[in-house]
């Protein structure tokens, strides 16, 4: 009951903000509207009892990625006050594609036999994640750092070429 109510409220917040993101005529407004969207998704993670993932979502997405996006927008030529259109002349075609995609997804969701019984929830999500990093997922964990290193080097090279 309470969970259903929270789910509905979170959905409304997430979707409303998401609609602003894709319809607003101002790019900074779009970027700022991402924050309620990310926070709404954080709420879903919490409903799924994934606390640690929720913390990451706030820290990385709402706190870091959004700031980066805002920085990127502010270095664009011509400034951020311009109004622009987010849609082109292909609106009917786009609506059709969206409707087809939605129909397919709904059919899949309805026809999939979802497991109805709840699994065992870990008591504290950060500890199992840490355990997994250090035991069965060692290689994945270490290669993550390599991936991050590569992305850092790539980012610096690209940014320096632009300058």
């Amino acid at each position: 009951m309470g969970q259903l109510a929270s789910f509905i409220v979170l959905s409304i917040v997430t979707l409303t903000a998401a609609v602003v993101v894709v319809t607003s005529g101002n790019i900074v407004r779009s970027a700022l509207s991402l924050i309620p969207t990310f926070l709404g998704v954080t709420g879903f993670y919490i409903l799924l009892q994934a606390e640690f993932v929720a913390g990451i979502q706030v820290l990385i997405y709402a706190g870091a990625i959004t700031v980066l996006i805002l920085f990127v927008i502010m270095l664009t030529e011509g400034g951020t006050g311009l109004r622009f259109r987010q849609v082109n002349e292909q609106v009917p075609l786009g609506l059709l594609a969206a409707a087809v995609l939605a129909a397919i997804l709904i059919v899949v969701f309805v026809s999939t036999p979802w497991p109805k019984t709840a699994g065992e929830l870990p008591q504290y999500t950060a500890a199992p994640i840490g355990n997994m990093f250090l035991t069965s997922m060692v290689l994945v964990f270490e290669s993550t750092s390599l991936v991050l290193l590569v992305s850092l080097i790539g980012a610096i090279i690209i940014a320096r070429r632009e300058r």
């Binding site: 309470g2 969970q3 929270s6 709420g43 919490i46 409903l47 009892q49 606390e51 640690f52 913390g55 990451i56 820290l59 990385i60 706190g63 870091a64 990625i65 700031v67 980066l68 920085f71 990127v72 502010m74 270095l75 664009t76 030529e77 011509g78 400034g79 951020t80 006050g81 950060a126 500890a127 994640i129 840490g130 355990n131 990093f133 250090l134 035991t135 060692v138 964990f141 270490e142 993550t144 750092s145 390599l146 991050l148 290193l149 992305s151 850092l152 080097i153 980012a155 610096i156 940014a159 320096r160 632009e162 300058r163």
Partner: protein, 119 residues
Amino acid sequence: MLLLDWLYVGVFVVVGLAMAGLPFAIVWILAPRAALPQKRMTYESGVVPFGQAWAQFNVRYYLFGLVFVIFDVEVIYLYPWAIVFQKLGKFAFFEMVIFLFILLVGLAYAWRKGALEWA
């Protein structure tokens, strides 16, 4: 218990926004409203503002933002490690040494390439 914890957090967000919005209502009742066009002008040390503030900004902010996001992601990995590594002994320690070494190589690279330089 977990959902109860976060119920409080959710309520705090809502009540916080409401309480912070309360002064707006009080101001709306109490404060005067005089419509003078000059008053609503952008402040620029007393002269008539020229141009837009919403102009192009320096690329350096972006560079720092980029390095920050990557390091933020790397630091996030340290949290779950920090609370369990003691139970797992030496292996966990050396694993993190490797992880942090790669991280520090990244930092050294950014430093060397001048990505951490403001000037």
